[in-house]
């Protein structure tokens, strides 16, 4: 399974990845004014027109001033909540790694937006034919044997692309080789059941805007737990309701037989 490793210690914030993404995916520029967030960040957030974003974080780490750049994009979870959420399989985890979107199936219900723990899927709010949009890990390029546009464009190899296992090992290796240069955590290796986009950083991930306390287990399980008993519930309800009805109605039947002359209790006077 293909994956990406993003090393914040190598990123220089040049944002060629941001443009490369727009170039390959034919995304338009957004209208902005000044900088929308910290540092040089623009636009403020991911959107239907912006699938990846560099964040600029001015931090004091070990009493040393650091300017650290984070990259936001789809994590391509191994067990993606969005794909589980989607009622029509418009979002699909491919065996190659990318989580892809099929607009021809999508209803536009936006449950994927709600479900995603990383707030990745974005909606074309101003289109009469709106689509859910997000980073596709350039699935078309990957299918053609190329690397994703952002990974290719990155001048400092801060983004690398390869087999997930290899990259996970490489990430561990980098930490091992330079234990003082990294936070000892590969973000995405285990989060929400493991993702195909993993991050390394020299500052705590929360400082870069990553949710720090995501469970290691897949979010999908929460739903599965609630969904698994469904057949039992149907069967149980089928039996119980039938039985209750049988018993109750039988009793009423018997009662009615006993008091055949009695008027209906539910009789109401008209007007």
């Amino acid at each position: 399974m293909k994956a990406m490793l993003i090393d914040a210690t190598r990123c220089v914030g040049c944002r060629s990845c941001q443009i490369a993404c727009k170039e390959w995916n034919n995304l338009p520029g957004e209208q902005t004014e000044f900088f929308a967030a910290k540092g040089y960040q623009n636009p403020r957030d991911l959107s239907a027109k912006t699938w990846t974003l560099i964040t600029y974080n001015e931090l004091k780490v070990n009493n040393r001033f650091e300017w650290v750049f984070g990259k936001r994009q789809c994590f391509h979870c191994q067990e993606p909540a969005c794909a589980t959420a989607c009622p029509v399989r418009a979002l699909e985890k491919t065996s190659a790694g990318p989580v892809v979107y099929h607009p021809n199936l999508c209803l536009g219900c936006r449950y994927c937006q709600l479900a995603c723990p990383f707030k990745i899927p974005r909606f074309e709010w101003h289109s009469p034919v709106p689509k859910i949009t997000k980073c596709t890990m350039c699935a078309d390029r990957v299918a053609a044997g190329l690397e994703p546009a952002c990974a290719k464009a990155c001048p400092t190899d801060a983004i690398i692309f390869g087999e997930r296992e290899t990259l996970a090992a490489e990430a561990e290796n980098r930490i091992h080789r330079n234990p003082r240069g990294y936070v000892h955590h590969v973000y995405g290796k285990d989060e929400v059941g493991g993702t195909c986009v993993m991050h390394l950083s020299n500052v705590p991930f929360a400082e870069l805007g990553f949710s720090p306390n995501l469970p290691r287990r897949s979010l999908v399980q929460h739903v599965q737990h609630a969904m698994q008993p469904i057949p039992f519930l149907i069967a149980g309800l089928g039996i119980a309701l039938g039985a209750i009805s049988w018993i109750v109605n039988r009793r009423i039947e018997l009662q009615e037989k006993e008091q055949q002359q009695c008027p209906q209790p539910t009789h109401d006077s008209p007007q």
Partner: protein
């Protein structure tokens, strides 16, 4: 009556289930498709980034005379396929509605551009060059032959190709221009 109706329904429900199952199979097939890359069946040519002087390589893909994609050239020994945000934007230099597509002329004191043809403009410019050069030409300064004009200045060149720079340099010197400067100075 009842029994026949039952049969009828049984058949219907069975066939409905069958339809559902066939839909079931078809939906799976529909989901797995990934679109072909946009550079499929395009003509590729190489170029060098027009922004800074690192000299990164790019591949331009064109189809039907239109550029469809520009990205880094992975074979290029300097850039190995990577680019900065500017180089990555080269596509929007080529495909951009703000580009000049017509020759524009602004008359003295006018407040607007007029669209003109090359056929009109080139002789007009040549006339201006000649008029100014002839009026300001200095053949001698004291005893020294100088053969120059200080009435015309030439700027620019760093965005041009070498061959263009060369012709520019040659033409300017041929006209006797000494005010010749470009971006290397600033």
């Amino acid at each position: 009556m009842t029994i026949s109706r039952r049969n009828f329904l049984g058949i219907t429900s069975a066939s409905a289930l069958g339809t559902a199952i066939s839909l079931f199979a078809s939906s799976k097939a529909e989901a797995a498709e990934i679109p072909a890359i946009k550079t499929l069946h395009s003509k590729e040519s190489t170029t060098i980034c027009p922004y800074c002087a690192v000299g990164c390589g790019l591949i331009v893909s064109a189809r039907d005379g239109k550029v469809v994609n520009i990205e880094g050239d992975p074979d290029h020994p300097i850039s190995e396929g990577s680019l900065c945000s500017k180089g990555m934007s080269l596509y929007q230099v080529v495909v951009n509605e703000r580009r000049l597509t017509k020759l524009l002329y602004r008359a003295p004191h006018s407040d607007k551009w007029e669209e003109k043809s090359w056929q009109w403009a080139l002789p007009e410019i040549a006339k201006r060059i000649k008029k100014t050069r002839d009026a300001t030409f200095l053949a001698k300064e004291g005893d020294s032959v100088v053969n120059r004009t200080e009435g015309i200045a030439c700027l620019g060149g760093a965005a041009l190709d070498n061959e263009e720079c060369y012709l520019y340099s040659k033409l300017a010197r041929g006209l006797g221009i000494t005010y010749l400067e470009h971006q290397a100075r600033i």
